[in-house]
């Protein structure tokens, strides 16, 4: 049996970008709209046709891709033919039967390093998104549900963070605290929580005006209980979509920081750092091309899944599927 489906998620819910000024909804006047409800709702019902989200070829592709990467991460020591940090005198060997992806500046096997990179990037991305989501969720809920002063303060703080391009702020934070995995994670959490806070706030706001919330409050359900039962479950959908998309973004940003030398310390097999190593001599293209492809595929998988989830949760986007 399929689980409950959301009838209506806030219009800006799953947009890849939700910051900045939100344009006014291009609707007509409220009176006509109310009289039109009959049509409108019937229309909604039509769109939510049988969902075959998990059977679309692109989603299957993404799931397989992600599965492969997760397996690689889990089984890295088995899968990788070499130790990712063991050096050899065979510097900069081009791809061959022995070294599928060649070797790098210290004679390490690039294939093994790419495989082990998944072991680093995937959990780190999960941590970044997890913590940022948690912070953003709490603050977004508070802002949306309490409103007024709390809302004002929290939203101004998110404005502040948004006034910096993400990477610049992350770079500043990471540079300030010195390069390390922990500090990179910290920096990325700092720059990403406001996105969640905003999205969750806006979905809370839309739930806050929902009739079912009013109904249960009228029935004598306390505000905390209503938050738990009526607000939270209906506000998480967009956040889940966002989190999936953000997993990809976290992988990208981590790599960017590493590329700038502000990520995990060597000899950790981090993809961005590997690209940076390769960038010092382009004639050894394999040193940077393969880690780049690794990032590309992982992020692609997250993006496809995020899209599919959004289409599933927000019928407005279902049109985008075929």
């Amino acid at each position: 049996m399929t689980g409950p489906r959301i009838d209506l998620t806030p219009s800006e819910s799953g947009d890849p970008v939700t910051t900045g000024t939100v344009p006014p909804a291009p609707g007509g006047d409220p009176r006509t709209q109310r009289l039109l409800e009959r049509r409108r709702w019937a229309g909604r019902l039509r769109v939510r046709s049988v969902s075959s989200t998990w059977r679309q070829p692109s989603v299957v592709f993404a799931l397989i891709l992600l599965g492969v990467w997760m397996l690689a991460a889990a089984l890295a020591p088995v899968v990788a033919p070499f130790d990712p940090v063991t050096q050899s005198a065979n510097l900069y060997a081009s791809p061959s039967a022995e070294h599928w992806f060649g070797t790098d500046e210290l004679g390490r096997d690039v294939f093994s390093r790419v495989v082990h990179g998944a072991r680093l990037s995937l959990p780190v991305a999960v941590i970044i998104v997890g913590v940022a989501l948690a912070i953003g969720a709490v603050l977004g809920l508070l802002a949306g549900y309490l409103g007024r002063a709390a809302d004002e303060v929290i939203m101004r703080v998110t404005d502040l963070v948004f006034a910096f391009p993400q990477i610049i702020l992350a770079m500043a934070v990471a540079a300030a605290f010195g390069p390390s995995t922990r500090n990179a994670v910290l920096a990325l959490i700092i720059v990403s929580w406001p996105t969640y806070a905003r999205v969750i706030r806006s979905s809370v706001l839309s739930v806050r005006g929902a009739d079912y919330l009013a109904a249960s409050r009228l029935l004598g359900v306390g505000p905390v209980m209503a938050l738990r039962r009526d607000v939270v479950p209906n506000a998480v959908g967009p956040a889940v979509v966002l989190a999936t998309l953000e997993l990809g973004n976290a992988v990208l940003m981590l790599a960017a920081l590493s590329f700038l030398g502000l990520g995990p310390r060597p000899p950790a097999p981090e993809w961005g750092a590997m690209i940076a190593a390769g960038s010092r001599d382009l004639s050894m293209w394999w040193v940077s091309v393969f880690p780049g492809l690794a990032i590309l595929t992982v992020v692609l998988a997250f993006n496809i899944l995020g899209d599919a989830l959004r289409d599933r949760l927000d019928p407005r986007y279902a049109k985008g599927l075929s």
Binding site: P26, G28, D29, A42, V50
Partner: protein, 346 residues
């Protein structure tokens, strides 16, 4: 004399999720004569709008249409190409949509929206088009002249917007106007004005209208003939008065009974005082309900789609399609049983 619009065995299906085909209109046959306002009534999802859109080639892409729809005895509407539609749309058939707010572009002035197709089809220059637009505004009773042309839709009230939409539809003097629930979004007081406008246009300019509505009262007030749709099929058709006062199809009758009785006028008792129990008594079972809920054309059962909800259904009803019987000249009913409906069921 041939009908202005002659639709025979029109069937439409849409592409559904997962490649299957969803029928939305099974078999619709209807005619509109010149200078006539013909109505289509039916519950939500019965295929009224799909019929209208099929007649203007506005169906979603990849929709499949079969049957025939001939305009003025010479123009086949089914199977037209995109370019060929341009000689029909706007100039020969025009359309008014249900929600005028949504059907007018929010960022273009009223004047622009009234004149753009005139200039396209009639080859008028800006001046001439504007002069004509002013005429039209006058015809649909929008005050304000040039000022109104410069205003944007959001600056007008709902009723005025619908009048603008009608004016725009009339701009190129179409032979047929299709109005898809043009008053559903309006208050009764405003609706009355729009109905009056349609009637006036018919009387003065001999306009032919295919008028879609779900309100039987509106049907009665405006149209001369009507078609009742259910699950993508025509259940009953005939002269409006006869259809509504002496329905022969159980579905039409059920719709009528489920409707609040606004029709008989009440008079006060002699002493001018009503007693509460009188109202209470009246209310014990005020409306007659139809069991179950409406089915969509795609989910309609074989045989008569109304059979599962019909009080008079017989075993044969669920098996095969009912025959269409002409019970009186021009009054056709798709019912196998044709029960006597003069008695209101308890």
């Amino acid at each position: 004399m041939t009908a202005l619009l002659d639709v025979r065995h029109l069937a439409v299906s849409l592409p559904g999720a997962g490649g299957q085909v969803l029928p939305v209109i099974h078999d619709a046959t209807l005619q509109v004569s010149r200078g006539e306002i013909v109505g289509i009534a039916g519950e939500s999802g019965s295929g009224k709008s799909m019929t209208a859109q099929a007649l203007l080639g506005l169906l979603p892409e990849r929709a499949q249409v079969s049957g025939s729809a001939v305009l003025d005895g010479n123009t086949e509407l089914v199977g037209r190409s995109g370019r060929a539609w341009r000689t029909v749309r706007g100039t020969r058939i025009a359309m008014v949509f249900q929600d005028a707010t949504a059907a007018l572009h929010p960022m273009l002035t009223v004047g622009r929206q009234l004149t753009e197709h005139m200039r396209e089809h009639l080859g008028l220059d800006r001046r001439a088009a504007e002069a004509r637009a002013l005429d039209l505004l006058d015809r649909v009773r929008i005050p304000g002249g040039r000022g109104a042309l410069r205003s944007y839709p959001h600056q007008l009230s709902g009723g005025m917007r619908q009048r603008v939409a009608i004016a725009s539809a009339l701009a190129c003097e179409p032979e047929l106007l299709i109005a898809d629930e043009p008053t559903t979004a309006l208050d009764v007081t405003v609706q009355a004005g729009i109905l009056e406008l349609f009637d006036e246009l018919r009387r003065e300019s001999g306009l032919s209208v295919l008028f879609i509505t779900h309100d039987l009262g509106v049907l009665a007030a405006l149209t001369v003939r009507a078609y009742v749709f259910y699950a993508g099929r025509v259940m009953e058709s005939g002269p409006t008065g006869e259809l509504l006062l002496r329905p022969r199809h159980p579905y039409t009758a059920a719709l009528l009974h489920a409707r609040p009785h606004a029709d008989d006028s009440w008079t006060l008792p002699e002493d001018g005082v009503t007693r509460p129990d009188e109202a209470a008594e009246r209310r014990t079972q005020p409306l007659v309900t139809i069991p179950g809920s409406a089915v969509s054309p795609a989910a309609a059962p074989p045989g008569c789609p109304f059979a599962p909800r019909c009080a008079y259904a017989e075993a044969a009803c669920t098996g095969e399609l009912p025959p269409v019987t002409e019970v009186r000249p021009g009054h056709a009913v798709a019912c196998r049983v044709l029960p006597d409906l003069t008695e209101v069921p308890a």
